[in-house]
């Protein structure tokens, strides 16, 4: 048993985790610093959290980010699921490889180019930059992530389930709604979460497509840091880290429990 905790193992583990988490731990610790100077420790305090919630500019940016995240991830989930469904279900047709390649291309496209091309598009159609343009831009780049997640689930989906639904009187849309969708819901949800996270931390595309009327949190943080790191930013980042951590842990717990329950029920079925 002791072999599993040899010195080599412990050292590698410590180094790896230290590399990953020391920056964040420092950030979290300094967010509770009483001093105004970021690098000088002057005792524990939550005063920067209080001040953060007094800061109108940050609160506005947070609100914009949340709105953009919810709207764009929802739109991206709808579009991405539709794209995945068509690509997996339509079988072979002329140019299928080209089409699926085109759906996945934004995954590897440099963000600067995506941002720039969207900016050019919005200018040429005369759309004022603001919340709407950021939502559209985020939908564009995150829908391909959703479609990757959903199409991998659909590929392992037994198509006779849909045929059975049609056979029992469903229209194709009803079959999708009442059979396919409930079964692929976990994949759709994780696609949505992925899109939401991507939208939450995007800086490059948002800075191309945002206007004076709307600034997202990453843009706000980035521009504030250029004038020097303030303890308020540390507090804000700590809040963001907790939100993301909470989301990831609860999502993995939910799916782990679902798998464990299904295992247990299948065991019971075998004993019947």
């Amino acid at each position: 048993m002791n072999r599993r905790y040899s010195w080599f193992n412990i050292t590698s583990l410590t180094l790896g985790f230290a590399f990953l988490y020391i920056p964040m731990i420092i950030l979290v610790i300094y967010s509770f610093n009483a001093s105004k100077l970021v690098t000088v420790w002057a005792g524990f305090s939550t005063r920067w959290y209080g001040e953060l919630f007094q800061n109108e500019a940050f609160l506005d940016a947070a609100w914009v980010t949340l709105k953009v995240g919810l709207a764009s991830s929802t739109l991206a989930t709808v579009l991405g699921t539709m794209a995945a469904y068509v690509m997996v279900r339509s079988g072979r047709f002329m140019g299928r490889t080209l089409f699926s390649g085109m759906i996945y291309a934004p995954l590897v496209m440099p963000e600067v180019i995506t941002g720039l091309s969207l900016l050019l598009l919005f200018i040429s159609i005369g759309l004022d930059r603001g919340v709407l343009t950021i939502i559209l831009a985020h939908t564009t780049f995150s829908m391909c992530y959703v479609s990757v997640v959903v199409s991998s689930r659909l590929a392992s989906f037994d198509q006779s389930l849909e045929e059975a639904a049609l056979d029992l009187g469903c229209t194709p849309f009803d079959a999708f709604r009442s059979v396919t969708l409930p079964i692929i819901t976990p994949a759709v949800l994780s696609g949505w979460l992925l899109a939401f996270t991507l939208s939450l931390d995007d800086l490059v595309i948002a800075s191309f497509t945002s206007g004076p009327s709307a600034t997202t949190l990453p843009i706000k943080i980035f521009s504030a840091v250029r004038l020097g790191v303030s303890p308020e930013i540390n507090a804000l980042s700590t809040i963001l880290i907790s939100i993301v951590t909470f989301g990831v842990i609860s999502a993995s717990l939910i799916s782990k429990r679902a798998i464990a329950r299904q295992r247990r029920e299948e065991q019971e079925a075998l004993q019947v």
Binding site: L161, E163, A164, A165, L166, D174, Q262, E265, L270, V272
Partner: protein
Amino acid sequence: MAFDSGSAAFAPWEDPGQKPLISFKSVTKRFGNFTAIDNLTLDIFEKEFFALLGPSGCGKTTLMRMLAGFEAPSEGTIMLDGQDIGPIPPNKRAVNMMFQSYALFPHLSVADNIAFGLKRSDMPKSEIAGRVEEMLSLVQLSQFASRRPHQISGGQRQRVALARSLAKAPKLLLLDEPLGALDKKLRQETQFELMDIQEKTGTTFVIVTHDQEEAMTVASRIAVVNHGKLVQVAPPDRIYEAPNSIYVADFIGDVNIIKGLAKPESDNRYAIQWCENHAPIIGTSQHAFASDDICHFAIRPEKVSITRDRPTDRTNTMQGKVLEIAYLGNISTYHVELPTGQVIKAQQANNRRISRRSFTWHDSVWLSFTDTAGVLLSQ
């Protein structure tokens, strides 16, 4: 022949006045360059238990999927109850299907699976629960109503799938290899259950299978399909006793085929010259053969007797040596090599204990059969 005269039995296909429930009229189905169904014409009657039997890739599943509405014929028409069902989508057809994988909805309980089709029919909401209850008791699963499909055993899933496809009382039920996933013992029990349910509900069943024993057990008629064509359509006993070709004789059960030249004797009696220095086989045939036509004499192993001494009361006798014995418990199959090198299979019921068995390897034995035991086939 003697065995097709049972007119009192269920045989609507022999009554020219009967209207078929389903008729395929010169149906062809192509997938690209591949012809899955080749100009096929077939009538299936109400209350039949009809089996489509053939090797995998013969087109039997395509036939079924065309009935369900998942494939459309490339040419020809399919009529259901006098109506061309070509343009009707699967959800509007009075046809239900039981899938090979059962295709139970994993997110719904057993009862909700059965109610799924009813909720989409014009049945009033108040009657649905009663109908679900009725179907559950038909397949003896009432105490499992609230379980999910993955919480019940394979045999129970099979019965849920059957109940779900029967719930809407379809005119026609399609069963795609319904028992393929069950073990042998359960499969045999379920075959009888299927027949029982078919009789109780009076539904027309069309079953697709590659298991000839299953088709023989359950079906009122069997269509042997090969390369997208019907080879023979007949009740199980006729398929077995009077196959119309070597393909059918060989596909269904075990058979000895002896090739020879036909020499007509009288009426439908023929002498088959199969070996230069051996007496010809005497057989009968419904089909006429001209003198010196090439013919194939097909005889089932269980119709060939095996004895130590030459029997005096049989028309055909031949001597040989026991080459192999396959002991199956209830019966034994003997492979007997004739002096010509040909091997003939003979089957005998083991009605004595094995220690008292009369023949063993390399014994010299006599094979014999009557003149009506086999059939003459041209190809």
